[in-house]
Protein backbone atom coordinates (compact mmCIF):
# COMPACT_ATOMS: atom_id res chain seq x y z
CA UNK A 1 0.00 0.00 0.00
CA UNK A 2 1.48 3.31 -1.04
CA UNK A 3 1.78 6.43 1.11
CA UNK A 4 -0.84 8.24 -0.99
CA UNK A 5 -3.54 5.61 -0.52
CA UNK A 6 -2.83 5.30 3.22
CA UNK A 7 -3.17 9.05 3.61
CA UNK A 8 -6.36 8.94 1.62
CA UNK A 9 -7.82 6.22 3.83
CA UNK A 10 -6.89 8.03 7.04
CA UNK A 11 -8.47 11.22 5.67
CA UNK A 12 -11.60 9.31 4.68
CA UNK A 13 -12.00 7.74 8.14
CA UNK A 14 -11.43 11.04 9.93
CA UNK A 15 -13.78 12.98 7.66
CA UNK A 16 -16.55 10.37 7.86
CA UNK A 17 -16.26 10.20 11.64
CA UNK A 18 -16.46 14.00 11.84
CA UNK A 19 -19.49 14.05 9.57
CA UNK A 20 -21.39 11.36 11.50
CA UNK A 21 -20.53 12.59 15.00
CA UNK A 22 -21.07 16.21 13.99
CA UNK A 23 -24.48 15.59 12.47
CA UNK A 24 -25.54 13.59 15.52
CA UNK A 25 -24.49 16.59 17.58
CA UNK A 26 -26.48 18.94 15.35
CA UNK A 27 -29.63 16.93 16.02
CA UNK A 28 -29.12 15.98 19.66
CA UNK A 29 -27.51 18.98 21.33
CA UNK A 30 -29.99 21.10 23.29
CA UNK A 31 -28.08 24.37 22.66
CA UNK A 32 -29.08 25.65 19.22
CA UNK A 33 -25.90 27.74 18.85
CA UNK A 34 -23.73 24.64 19.25
CA UNK A 35 -25.91 22.85 16.72
CA UNK A 36 -25.41 25.66 14.21
CA UNK A 37 -21.62 25.72 14.64
CA UNK A 38 -21.47 21.93 14.38
CA UNK A 39 -23.51 22.16 11.18
CA UNK A 40 -20.70 24.29 9.74
CA UNK A 41 -18.23 21.57 10.74
CA UNK A 42 -20.37 18.91 9.06
CA UNK A 43 -20.52 20.96 5.84
CA UNK A 44 -16.74 21.38 5.93
CA UNK A 45 -16.11 17.67 6.35
CA UNK A 46 -18.51 16.88 3.51
CA UNK A 47 -16.46 19.30 1.39
CA UNK A 48 -13.38 17.31 2.46
CA UNK A 49 -15.08 14.10 1.23
CA UNK A 50 -15.71 15.79 -2.14
CA UNK A 51 -12.01 16.68 -2.28
CA UNK A 52 -11.12 13.03 -1.68
CA UNK A 53 -13.34 12.15 -4.65
CA UNK A 54 -11.30 14.54 -6.86
CA UNK A 55 -14.20 16.98 -7.12
CA UNK A 56 -12.39 20.14 -6.08
CA UNK A 57 -14.85 22.53 -7.74
CA UNK A 58 -17.80 20.93 -5.94
CA UNK A 59 -15.84 21.04 -2.68
CA UNK A 60 -15.10 24.75 -3.05
CA UNK A 61 -18.71 25.45 -4.03
CA UNK A 62 -19.88 23.47 -1.01
CA UNK A 63 -17.73 25.61 1.29
CA UNK A 64 -18.76 28.85 -0.40
CA UNK A 65 -22.50 28.16 -0.47
CA UNK A 66 -23.16 26.03 2.59
CA UNK A 67 -20.52 27.26 5.03
CA UNK A 68 -20.04 30.80 3.80
CA UNK A 69 -23.65 31.68 3.07
CA UNK A 70 -26.19 29.24 4.54
CA UNK A 71 -24.46 28.54 7.83
CA UNK A 72 -23.45 32.15 8.39
CA UNK A 73 -27.05 33.24 7.78
CA UNK A 74 -28.35 30.59 10.20
CA UNK A 75 -25.91 31.80 12.86
CA UNK A 76 -26.82 35.39 12.10
CA UNK A 77 -30.51 34.67 12.58
CA UNK A 78 -29.92 32.71 15.79
CA UNK A 79 -27.76 35.44 17.29
CA UNK A 80 -30.21 38.19 16.39
CA UNK A 81 -33.18 36.45 18.04
CA UNK A 82 -31.48 34.40 20.76
CA UNK A 83 -33.17 35.64 23.93
CA UNK A 84 -32.22 32.81 26.31
CA UNK A 85 -35.86 32.32 27.29
CA UNK A 86 -36.84 29.18 29.17
CA UNK A 87 -39.24 27.26 27.02
CA UNK A 88 -42.19 25.50 28.65
CA UNK A 89 -41.99 21.71 28.41
CA UNK A 90 -44.19 20.37 25.63
CA UNK A 91 -46.58 17.62 26.81
CA UNK A 92 -45.72 14.19 25.46
CA UNK A 93 -42.12 15.14 24.62
CA UNK A 94 -40.87 11.63 25.32
CA UNK A 95 -43.42 10.10 22.95
CA UNK A 96 -42.45 12.57 20.22
CA UNK A 97 -38.78 11.78 20.66
CA UNK A 98 -39.44 8.05 20.53
CA UNK A 99 -41.56 8.43 17.39
CA UNK A 100 -39.00 10.57 15.55
CA UNK A 101 -36.23 8.23 16.67
CA UNK A 102 -38.16 5.27 15.29
CA UNK A 103 -38.73 7.03 11.95
CA UNK A 104 -35.04 7.91 11.69
CA UNK A 105 -33.99 4.36 12.58
CA UNK A 106 -36.33 3.01 9.91
CA UNK A 107 -34.88 5.36 7.30
CA UNK A 108 -31.37 4.37 8.36
CA UNK A 109 -32.20 0.68 8.02
CA UNK A 110 -33.67 1.31 4.56
CA UNK A 111 -30.56 3.21 3.45
CA UNK A 112 -28.29 0.48 4.83
CA UNK A 113 -30.23 -2.15 2.91
CA UNK A 114 -30.01 -0.11 -0.30
CA UNK A 115 -26.30 0.44 0.25
CA UNK A 116 -25.59 -3.24 0.74
CA UNK A 117 -27.92 -4.74 -1.88
CA UNK A 118 -27.16 -2.39 -4.78
CA UNK A 119 -24.58 -3.71 -7.20
CA UNK A 120 -22.25 -0.68 -7.29
CA UNK A 121 -20.17 -0.32 -10.46
CA UNK A 122 -16.75 -0.47 -8.83
CA UNK A 123 -14.35 1.05 -9.64
CA UNK A 124 -16.35 4.00 -10.88
CA UNK A 125 -15.63 6.11 -13.96
CA UNK A 126 -12.22 7.81 -13.97
CA UNK A 127 -12.31 11.25 -12.31
CA UNK A 128 -12.23 14.16 -14.74
CA UNK A 129 -10.07 16.16 -12.32
CA UNK A 130 -9.36 19.75 -13.31
CA UNK A 131 -11.70 19.56 -16.29
CA UNK A 132 -14.64 19.24 -13.91
CA UNK A 133 -15.34 22.98 -13.91
CA UNK A 134 -15.74 23.01 -17.68
CA UNK A 135 -17.89 19.87 -17.64
CA UNK A 136 -20.18 21.28 -14.95
CA UNK A 137 -20.59 24.47 -16.97
CA UNK A 138 -21.44 22.52 -20.12
CA UNK A 139 -24.01 20.41 -18.29
CA UNK A 140 -25.61 23.43 -16.66
CA UNK A 141 -26.15 25.05 -20.04
CA UNK A 142 -27.25 21.96 -21.99
CA UNK A 143 -29.06 19.00 -20.44
CA UNK A 144 -29.51 20.50 -16.96
CA UNK A 145 -30.62 23.90 -18.25
CA UNK A 146 -34.26 23.52 -17.14
CA UNK A 147 -33.57 22.55 -13.50
CA UNK A 148 -30.93 25.29 -13.35
CA UNK A 149 -33.34 27.93 -14.60
CA UNK A 150 -36.15 26.63 -12.39
CA UNK A 151 -33.89 26.91 -9.36
CA UNK A 152 -33.09 30.50 -10.28
CA UNK A 153 -36.82 31.28 -10.69
CA UNK A 154 -37.41 29.76 -7.25
CA UNK A 155 -34.68 31.93 -5.75
CA UNK A 156 -36.14 34.99 -7.48
CA UNK A 157 -39.55 34.19 -6.00
CA UNK A 158 -38.05 33.81 -2.54
CA UNK A 159 -36.26 37.12 -2.95
CA UNK A 160 -39.37 38.98 -4.06
CA UNK A 161 -41.27 37.40 -1.18
CA UNK A 162 -38.64 38.54 1.30
CA UNK A 163 -38.76 42.08 -0.08
CA UNK A 164 -42.56 42.16 0.13
CA UNK A 165 -42.46 40.89 3.72
CA UNK A 166 -39.80 43.40 4.70
CA UNK A 167 -41.42 46.36 2.97
CA UNK A 168 -44.82 46.50 4.62
CA UNK A 169 -45.81 49.67 2.75
CA UNK A 170 -46.63 47.78 -0.46
CA UNK A 171 -49.65 46.25 1.27
CA UNK A 172 -52.68 48.39 1.97
CA UNK A 173 -54.28 45.80 4.26
CA UNK A 174 -52.76 43.13 6.45
CA UNK A 175 -53.37 39.67 5.04
CA UNK A 176 -54.44 38.15 8.35
CA UNK A 177 -56.31 40.87 10.21
CA UNK A 178 -57.64 42.84 7.24
CA UNK A 179 -56.49 46.06 8.88
CA UNK A 180 -54.37 48.63 7.05
CA UNK A 181 -50.75 47.61 7.34
CA UNK A 182 -49.13 50.69 5.93
CA UNK A 183 -47.81 52.88 8.70
CA UNK A 184 -48.94 56.05 6.88
CA UNK A 185 -52.45 54.66 6.37
CA UNK A 186 -52.70 53.62 10.02
CA UNK A 187 -51.82 57.08 11.15
CA UNK A 188 -54.30 58.69 8.75
CA UNK A 189 -57.23 56.47 9.62
CA UNK A 190 -56.77 56.36 13.37
CA UNK A 191 -59.06 58.81 15.16
CA UNK A 192 -57.02 61.05 17.41
CA UNK A 193 -57.31 60.38 21.11
CA UNK A 194 -57.63 64.07 22.00
CA UNK A 195 -60.10 65.87 19.77
CA UNK A 196 -59.54 69.54 20.07
CA UNK A 197 -62.76 71.55 20.27
CA UNK A 198 -61.28 75.01 20.03
CA UNK A 199 -59.05 76.23 17.28
CA UNK A 200 -55.50 76.11 18.60
CA UNK A 201 -53.38 79.17 19.08
CA UNK A 202 -51.05 79.70 16.11
CA UNK A 203 -47.71 78.24 17.17
CA UNK A 204 -44.26 78.85 15.85
CA UNK A 205 -44.51 75.78 13.64
CA UNK A 206 -47.86 76.56 12.07
CA UNK A 207 -46.97 80.08 11.08
CA UNK A 208 -46.41 80.50 7.38
Amino acid sequence: MSIASTTQQICFVVLSATTVVGSLGVVLLPNIVYSAFLLGGVFLSVAGLYLLLNASFVAAAQILVYVGAVNVLILFAIMLVNKQETLAAIPGLLLRRLLSGAVCAGLFALLLRVAFTTAWALPGPPPVGEEATIRIGEHLFTDYLLPFELASVLLLMAMIGAIVLARRDVFTTDVITGEPADQGLIEKERTPLLIETTTPEPTLLSKP
Binding site: I3, S56, A60, G68, L75, F76, E130
Partner: protein, 383 residues
Protein backbone atom coordinates in the same frame (compact mmCIF):
# COMPACT_ATOMS: atom_id res chain seq x y z
CA UNK B 1 5.32 22.82 -7.88
CA UNK B 2 2.97 19.91 -7.52
CA UNK B 3 1.23 20.38 -10.85
CA UNK B 4 0.62 16.92 -12.20
CA UNK B 5 -2.33 17.72 -14.43
CA UNK B 6 -2.52 16.69 -18.07
CA UNK B 7 -1.49 20.19 -19.16
CA UNK B 8 1.60 20.23 -16.96
CA UNK B 9 2.68 16.85 -18.27
CA UNK B 10 2.13 17.70 -21.94
CA UNK B 11 3.92 21.05 -22.06
CA UNK B 12 7.03 21.42 -19.95
CA UNK B 13 6.39 24.84 -18.37
CA UNK B 14 9.24 27.30 -18.65
CA UNK B 15 10.97 28.82 -15.68
CA UNK B 16 12.37 27.52 -12.45
CA UNK B 17 11.01 24.14 -11.34
CA UNK B 18 12.48 23.52 -7.91
CA UNK B 19 10.38 20.41 -7.28
CA UNK B 20 11.73 18.36 -10.15
CA UNK B 21 15.28 19.53 -9.44
CA UNK B 22 14.94 18.55 -5.79
CA UNK B 23 13.45 15.15 -6.61
CA UNK B 24 16.17 14.49 -9.19
CA UNK B 25 18.79 15.39 -6.60
CA UNK B 26 17.22 13.17 -3.92
CA UNK B 27 16.94 10.27 -6.35
CA UNK B 28 20.55 10.80 -7.26
CA UNK B 29 21.34 10.27 -3.55
CA UNK B 30 19.63 6.87 -3.69
CA UNK B 31 16.06 7.59 -2.52
CA UNK B 32 12.94 6.24 -4.20
CA UNK B 33 10.68 8.61 -6.11
CA UNK B 34 7.95 8.39 -3.47
CA UNK B 35 10.32 9.11 -0.58
CA UNK B 36 11.85 12.05 -2.46
CA UNK B 37 8.40 13.48 -3.06
CA UNK B 38 7.47 12.99 0.58
CA UNK B 39 10.63 14.85 1.61
CA UNK B 40 9.75 17.67 -0.78
CA UNK B 41 6.09 18.08 0.31
CA UNK B 42 6.55 19.99 3.60
CA UNK B 43 9.25 22.30 2.22
CA UNK B 44 7.12 24.76 0.21
CA UNK B 45 4.45 24.75 2.94
CA UNK B 46 6.92 25.68 5.68
CA UNK B 47 8.56 28.22 3.39
CA UNK B 48 5.24 29.91 2.60
CA UNK B 49 4.18 29.88 6.26
CA UNK B 50 7.46 31.53 7.27
CA UNK B 51 7.09 33.94 4.37
CA UNK B 52 3.58 34.86 5.48
CA UNK B 53 4.69 35.54 9.06
CA UNK B 54 7.68 37.59 7.92
CA UNK B 55 5.32 39.48 5.61
CA UNK B 56 3.17 40.29 8.63
CA UNK B 57 6.17 41.56 10.58
CA UNK B 58 7.15 43.77 7.67
CA UNK B 59 3.66 45.18 7.27
CA UNK B 60 3.33 45.85 11.01
CA UNK B 61 6.59 47.78 10.87
CA UNK B 62 5.38 49.63 7.76
CA UNK B 63 2.11 50.42 9.49
CA UNK B 64 3.93 51.92 12.46
CA UNK B 65 6.39 53.89 10.35
CA UNK B 66 3.88 55.16 7.79
CA UNK B 67 1.34 56.13 10.42
CA UNK B 68 4.12 58.02 12.17
CA UNK B 69 5.04 59.78 8.94
CA UNK B 70 1.40 60.67 8.27
CA UNK B 71 1.08 62.14 11.76
CA UNK B 72 4.53 63.83 11.59
CA UNK B 73 6.03 61.63 14.31
CA UNK B 74 9.15 59.50 14.13
CA UNK B 75 7.66 56.17 15.11
CA UNK B 76 9.58 53.17 16.49
CA UNK B 77 13.27 53.95 16.51
CA UNK B 78 15.19 52.14 19.23
CA UNK B 79 14.37 48.47 18.57
CA UNK B 80 16.88 47.72 15.85
CA UNK B 81 17.85 50.04 13.03
CA UNK B 82 14.85 52.26 12.16
CA UNK B 83 12.82 50.18 14.61
CA UNK B 84 12.68 47.09 12.39
CA UNK B 85 12.62 44.83 15.45
CA UNK B 86 9.58 46.58 16.90
CA UNK B 87 7.05 44.06 15.42
CA UNK B 88 9.08 41.22 16.97
CA UNK B 89 8.94 43.00 20.33
CA UNK B 90 5.16 43.40 19.89
CA UNK B 91 4.82 39.70 19.13
CA UNK B 92 6.96 38.68 22.12
CA UNK B 93 4.92 40.89 24.40
CA UNK B 94 1.72 39.17 23.26
CA UNK B 95 3.27 35.72 23.76
CA UNK B 96 4.14 36.51 27.37
CA UNK B 97 0.78 38.03 28.26
CA UNK B 98 -1.64 36.10 30.45
CA UNK B 99 -4.23 34.16 28.49
CA UNK B 100 -7.55 35.12 30.06
CA UNK B 101 -10.87 33.40 29.44
CA UNK B 102 -13.70 35.48 30.94
CA UNK B 103 -15.57 33.76 33.77
CA UNK B 104 -18.95 33.43 32.08
CA UNK B 105 -17.66 33.02 28.55
CA UNK B 106 -18.09 29.81 26.58
CA UNK B 107 -14.51 28.55 26.87
CA UNK B 108 -14.60 26.04 23.98
CA UNK B 109 -16.01 28.43 21.40
CA UNK B 110 -13.89 31.23 22.85
CA UNK B 111 -10.71 29.29 22.09
CA UNK B 112 -11.91 27.93 18.76
CA UNK B 113 -12.93 31.32 17.32
CA UNK B 114 -9.47 32.82 16.69
CA UNK B 115 -8.25 29.54 15.19
CA UNK B 116 -11.14 29.52 12.72
CA UNK B 117 -10.23 33.06 11.75
CA UNK B 118 -6.56 32.36 11.06
CA UNK B 119 -6.56 28.89 9.49
CA UNK B 120 -8.56 29.71 6.31
CA UNK B 121 -6.40 32.77 5.67
CA UNK B 122 -3.21 30.75 5.92
CA UNK B 123 -4.71 27.96 3.77
CA UNK B 124 -5.43 30.51 1.06
CA UNK B 125 -1.69 31.04 0.57
CA UNK B 126 -1.85 27.68 -1.21
CA UNK B 127 -2.79 29.39 -4.46
CA UNK B 128 -0.51 32.45 -4.43
CA UNK B 129 2.06 32.06 -7.22
CA UNK B 130 5.50 33.67 -7.09
CA UNK B 131 6.59 32.18 -10.39
CA UNK B 132 5.53 29.70 -13.07
CA UNK B 133 6.20 26.79 -10.71
CA UNK B 134 6.78 28.68 -7.49
CA UNK B 135 3.60 28.01 -5.56
CA UNK B 136 2.48 25.27 -3.19
CA UNK B 137 -0.15 23.80 -5.46
CA UNK B 138 -1.47 24.84 -8.83
CA UNK B 139 -5.01 23.68 -8.08
CA UNK B 140 -7.45 23.99 -10.93
CA UNK B 141 -10.04 25.91 -8.93
CA UNK B 142 -7.30 28.34 -7.78
CA UNK B 143 -8.84 31.71 -7.17
CA UNK B 144 -12.26 30.17 -6.44
CA UNK B 145 -10.67 28.23 -3.59
CA UNK B 146 -9.54 31.53 -2.07
CA UNK B 147 -13.06 33.00 -2.34
CA UNK B 148 -14.52 29.86 -0.74
CA UNK B 149 -11.96 29.76 2.06
CA UNK B 150 -12.33 33.44 2.88
CA UNK B 151 -16.05 32.81 3.44
CA UNK B 152 -15.25 30.58 6.44
CA UNK B 153 -13.72 33.46 8.35
CA UNK B 154 -17.00 35.17 9.41
CA UNK B 155 -17.98 31.97 11.26
CA UNK B 156 -14.91 32.34 13.44
CA UNK B 157 -15.75 36.00 14.02
CA UNK B 158 -19.36 35.18 14.93
CA UNK B 159 -18.10 32.41 17.21
CA UNK B 160 -15.72 34.64 19.12
CA UNK B 161 -18.28 37.44 19.25
CA UNK B 162 -20.93 35.13 20.67
CA UNK B 163 -18.77 33.22 23.12
CA UNK B 164 -17.21 36.31 24.74
CA UNK B 165 -20.48 36.98 26.59
CA UNK B 166 -20.11 40.67 25.89
CA UNK B 167 -22.54 42.91 24.02
CA UNK B 168 -19.79 44.77 22.16
CA UNK B 169 -18.25 41.50 21.05
CA UNK B 170 -21.58 40.15 19.81
CA UNK B 171 -22.32 43.34 17.88
CA UNK B 172 -18.81 43.32 16.42
CA UNK B 173 -19.17 39.71 15.33
CA UNK B 174 -22.55 40.36 13.71
CA UNK B 175 -21.19 43.42 11.90
CA UNK B 176 -18.21 41.45 10.68
CA UNK B 177 -20.45 38.73 9.28
CA UNK B 178 -22.80 41.20 7.58
CA UNK B 179 -19.90 43.11 6.07
CA UNK B 180 -18.17 39.99 4.88
CA UNK B 181 -21.31 38.60 3.20
CA UNK B 182 -22.08 41.93 1.51
CA UNK B 183 -18.64 42.44 0.03
CA UNK B 184 -18.03 38.86 -1.01
CA UNK B 185 -20.48 39.17 -3.89
CA UNK B 186 -18.96 42.15 -5.76
CA UNK B 187 -15.53 40.67 -5.02
CA UNK B 188 -16.49 37.37 -6.64
CA UNK B 189 -18.04 39.17 -9.62
CA UNK B 190 -14.87 41.23 -10.15
CA UNK B 191 -12.81 38.04 -10.04
CA UNK B 192 -15.26 36.39 -12.44
CA UNK B 193 -14.60 39.07 -15.07
CA UNK B 194 -10.86 38.35 -14.88
CA UNK B 195 -11.50 34.60 -14.98
CA UNK B 196 -13.65 35.09 -18.06
CA UNK B 197 -10.76 36.81 -19.84
CA UNK B 198 -8.19 34.20 -18.92
CA UNK B 199 -10.47 31.16 -19.43
CA UNK B 200 -9.20 29.58 -16.23
CA UNK B 201 -9.59 29.74 -12.47
CA UNK B 202 -5.98 28.86 -11.87
CA UNK B 203 -3.83 31.73 -10.61
CA UNK B 204 -0.91 30.57 -12.74
CA UNK B 205 -3.01 30.74 -15.91
CA UNK B 206 -4.36 34.16 -14.93
CA UNK B 207 -0.81 35.50 -14.67
CA UNK B 208 0.31 33.67 -17.82
CA UNK B 209 -2.47 35.39 -19.75
CA UNK B 210 -1.08 38.78 -18.66
CA UNK B 211 2.44 38.19 -19.97
CA UNK B 212 3.48 39.03 -23.50
CA UNK B 213 3.72 42.81 -23.76
CA UNK B 214 5.02 43.58 -20.29
CA UNK B 215 3.25 46.28 -18.36
CA UNK B 216 0.81 46.94 -21.23
CA UNK B 217 -0.69 43.46 -21.06
CA UNK B 218 -1.55 43.63 -17.36
CA UNK B 219 -5.20 43.26 -16.50
CA UNK B 220 -5.42 46.66 -14.86
CA UNK B 221 -5.73 48.31 -18.30
CA UNK B 222 -8.47 45.93 -19.39
CA UNK B 223 -10.26 45.79 -16.03
CA UNK B 224 -9.85 49.23 -14.41
CA UNK B 225 -13.33 49.13 -12.87
CA UNK B 226 -12.84 45.56 -11.71
CA UNK B 227 -9.53 46.55 -10.12
CA UNK B 228 -11.16 49.32 -8.08
CA UNK B 229 -14.09 47.09 -7.06
CA UNK B 230 -11.75 44.28 -6.06
CA UNK B 231 -9.52 46.57 -4.03
CA UNK B 232 -12.44 48.17 -2.16
CA UNK B 233 -13.95 44.77 -1.42
CA UNK B 234 -10.62 43.33 -0.37
CA UNK B 235 -10.15 46.19 2.08
CA UNK B 236 -13.66 45.58 3.42
CA UNK B 237 -12.98 41.85 3.78
CA UNK B 238 -9.78 42.62 5.68
CA UNK B 239 -11.67 45.11 7.89
CA UNK B 240 -9.16 47.83 7.14
CA UNK B 241 -9.90 51.32 8.21
CA UNK B 242 -12.44 52.87 5.93
CA UNK B 243 -14.41 49.70 6.68
CA UNK B 244 -13.26 48.65 10.14
CA UNK B 245 -16.73 48.84 11.68
CA UNK B 246 -16.56 45.42 13.37
CA UNK B 247 -13.86 46.76 15.68
CA UNK B 248 -14.72 50.45 15.70
CA UNK B 249 -13.11 51.73 18.91
CA UNK B 250 -15.47 54.63 19.49
CA UNK B 251 -18.60 52.51 19.31
CA UNK B 252 -17.70 48.93 20.15
CA UNK B 253 -14.54 49.11 22.31
CA UNK B 254 -12.76 46.59 20.07
CA UNK B 255 -15.63 44.58 18.63
CA UNK B 256 -15.20 40.82 18.70
CA UNK B 257 -11.65 41.19 20.08
CA UNK B 258 -12.74 43.01 23.24
CA UNK B 259 -12.36 40.08 25.65
CA UNK B 260 -9.27 38.56 24.08
CA UNK B 261 -5.74 38.84 25.37
CA UNK B 262 -2.38 37.21 24.91
CA UNK B 263 -1.89 34.69 22.15
CA UNK B 264 -5.56 34.53 21.16
CA UNK B 265 -5.58 38.25 20.49
CA UNK B 266 -2.31 37.79 18.63
CA UNK B 267 -4.03 35.26 16.38
CA UNK B 268 -6.64 37.86 15.38
CA UNK B 269 -3.90 40.39 14.82
CA UNK B 270 -1.83 37.95 12.78
CA UNK B 271 -4.88 36.87 10.81
CA UNK B 272 -5.83 40.38 9.82
CA UNK B 273 -2.32 41.25 8.62
CA UNK B 274 -1.82 37.94 6.80
CA UNK B 275 -5.15 38.62 5.12
CA UNK B 276 -4.02 42.11 4.11
CA UNK B 277 -0.78 40.85 2.56
CA UNK B 278 -2.68 38.00 0.89
CA UNK B 279 -5.23 40.38 -0.60
CA UNK B 280 -2.45 42.63 -1.89
CA UNK B 281 -0.70 39.61 -3.41
CA UNK B 282 -3.92 38.52 -5.10
CA UNK B 283 -4.54 42.01 -6.48
CA UNK B 284 -1.06 41.90 -7.95
CA UNK B 285 -1.76 38.43 -9.37
CA UNK B 286 -5.17 39.32 -10.81
CA UNK B 287 -4.53 42.84 -12.07
CA UNK B 288 -0.84 43.73 -11.95
CA UNK B 289 0.67 40.80 -13.79
CA UNK B 290 1.81 38.73 -10.81
CA UNK B 291 5.45 37.75 -11.19
CA UNK B 292 5.89 39.34 -14.63
CA UNK B 293 8.38 42.18 -14.89
CA UNK B 294 7.17 45.46 -16.51
CA UNK B 295 9.47 44.70 -19.45
CA UNK B 296 9.17 41.01 -20.46
CA UNK B 297 12.18 39.02 -19.32
CA UNK B 298 12.24 37.21 -22.69
CA UNK B 299 12.90 40.53 -24.45
CA UNK B 300 15.76 41.34 -22.08
CA UNK B 301 17.38 37.93 -22.58
CA UNK B 302 16.88 38.41 -26.32
CA UNK B 303 18.66 41.78 -26.25
CA UNK B 304 21.48 40.36 -24.16
CA UNK B 305 21.68 37.37 -26.44
CA UNK B 306 21.47 34.71 -23.70
CA UNK B 307 19.31 31.62 -23.75
CA UNK B 308 16.34 31.86 -21.33
CA UNK B 309 16.81 28.15 -20.51
CA UNK B 310 20.31 28.48 -19.10
CA UNK B 311 20.30 27.56 -15.37
CA UNK B 312 21.77 30.85 -14.15
CA UNK B 313 19.33 32.88 -16.27
CA UNK B 314 16.47 30.79 -14.90
CA UNK B 315 17.53 31.47 -11.32
CA UNK B 316 17.79 35.21 -12.04
CA UNK B 317 14.41 35.21 -13.81
CA UNK B 318 12.81 33.36 -10.90
CA UNK B 319 14.27 35.81 -8.38
CA UNK B 320 13.11 38.78 -10.45
CA UNK B 321 9.63 37.20 -10.49
CA UNK B 322 9.51 36.74 -6.72
CA UNK B 323 10.84 40.24 -6.08
CA UNK B 324 8.40 41.89 -8.47
CA UNK B 325 5.40 39.99 -7.00
CA UNK B 326 6.39 41.09 -3.50
CA UNK B 327 7.13 44.67 -4.59
CA UNK B 328 3.73 45.01 -6.26
CA UNK B 329 2.01 43.54 -3.20
CA UNK B 330 3.82 45.86 -0.81
CA UNK B 331 3.04 48.88 -2.96
CA UNK B 332 -0.62 47.98 -2.42
CA UNK B 333 -0.04 47.39 1.30
CA UNK B 334 1.48 50.89 1.40
CA UNK B 335 -1.67 52.33 -0.18
CA UNK B 336 -3.85 50.39 2.28
CA UNK B 337 -1.88 51.77 5.23
CA UNK B 338 -2.00 55.29 3.83
CA UNK B 339 -5.77 54.93 3.39
CA UNK B 340 -6.12 53.70 6.95
CA UNK B 341 -4.37 56.72 8.43
CA UNK B 342 -5.96 59.35 6.21
CA UNK B 343 -9.62 58.40 5.78
CA UNK B 344 -12.49 58.46 8.29
CA UNK B 345 -14.61 55.40 8.98
CA UNK B 346 -17.89 54.92 7.08
CA UNK B 347 -21.15 54.32 8.95
CA UNK B 348 -22.79 50.89 8.86
CA UNK B 349 -25.62 52.09 6.59
CA UNK B 350 -23.14 53.76 4.24
CA UNK B 351 -21.13 50.56 4.21
CA UNK B 352 -24.10 48.39 3.26
CA UNK B 353 -25.36 50.97 0.75
CA UNK B 354 -21.96 51.07 -0.90
CA UNK B 355 -21.79 47.30 -1.07
CA UNK B 356 -25.29 46.47 -2.26
CA UNK B 357 -26.46 49.55 -4.14
CA UNK B 358 -23.23 50.69 -5.76
CA UNK B 359 -20.54 48.00 -6.00
CA UNK B 360 -22.87 45.11 -6.82
CA UNK B 361 -24.58 46.78 -9.85
CA UNK B 362 -21.25 48.18 -11.07
CA UNK B 363 -19.66 44.75 -10.77
CA UNK B 364 -22.54 43.19 -12.73
CA UNK B 365 -22.21 45.82 -15.47
CA UNK B 366 -18.46 45.28 -15.52
CA UNK B 367 -19.02 41.55 -16.00
CA UNK B 368 -21.49 42.17 -18.82
CA UNK B 369 -19.21 44.65 -20.58
CA UNK B 370 -16.27 42.25 -20.24
CA UNK B 371 -18.35 39.47 -21.80
CA UNK B 372 -19.36 41.78 -24.65
CA UNK B 373 -15.78 42.95 -25.24
CA UNK B 374 -14.57 39.38 -25.15
CA UNK B 375 -17.01 38.47 -27.92
CA UNK B 376 -16.22 41.63 -29.91
CA UNK B 377 -12.41 41.70 -29.56
CA UNK B 378 -11.34 38.15 -28.78
CA UNK B 379 -7.69 38.96 -29.46
CA UNK B 380 -7.43 41.64 -26.78
CA UNK B 381 -9.81 40.13 -24.24
CA UNK B 382 -8.72 36.52 -24.27
CA UNK B 383 -11.32 35.00 -26.63
Amino acid sequence: MLSTGPLGAAVAPPGLDLQSSFIDLAQGLGLTAGAARLLWLPLPMVLVLVGAVVGVLVSVWLERKISAAVQQRIGPEYAGALGVLQPLADGLKLVFKEDIIPARADSVLFSLGPILVVVPVILSWLVVPFGQNLLISNVGVGIFLWIALSSIQPIGLLMSGYSSNNKYSLLGGLRAAAQSISYEIPLALAVLAVVMMSNSLSTVDIVAQQTGAGILSWNIWRQPVGFVIFWICALAECERLPFDLPEAEEELVAGYQTEYSGMKFALFYLGSYINLVLSALLVSVLYLGGWSFPIPVEWITGWLGVSPDAPLVQVITGSVGIVSTILKAYLLVFFAILLRWTTPRVRIDQLLDLGWKFLLPIALVNLLVTAGLKLAFPAAFGG
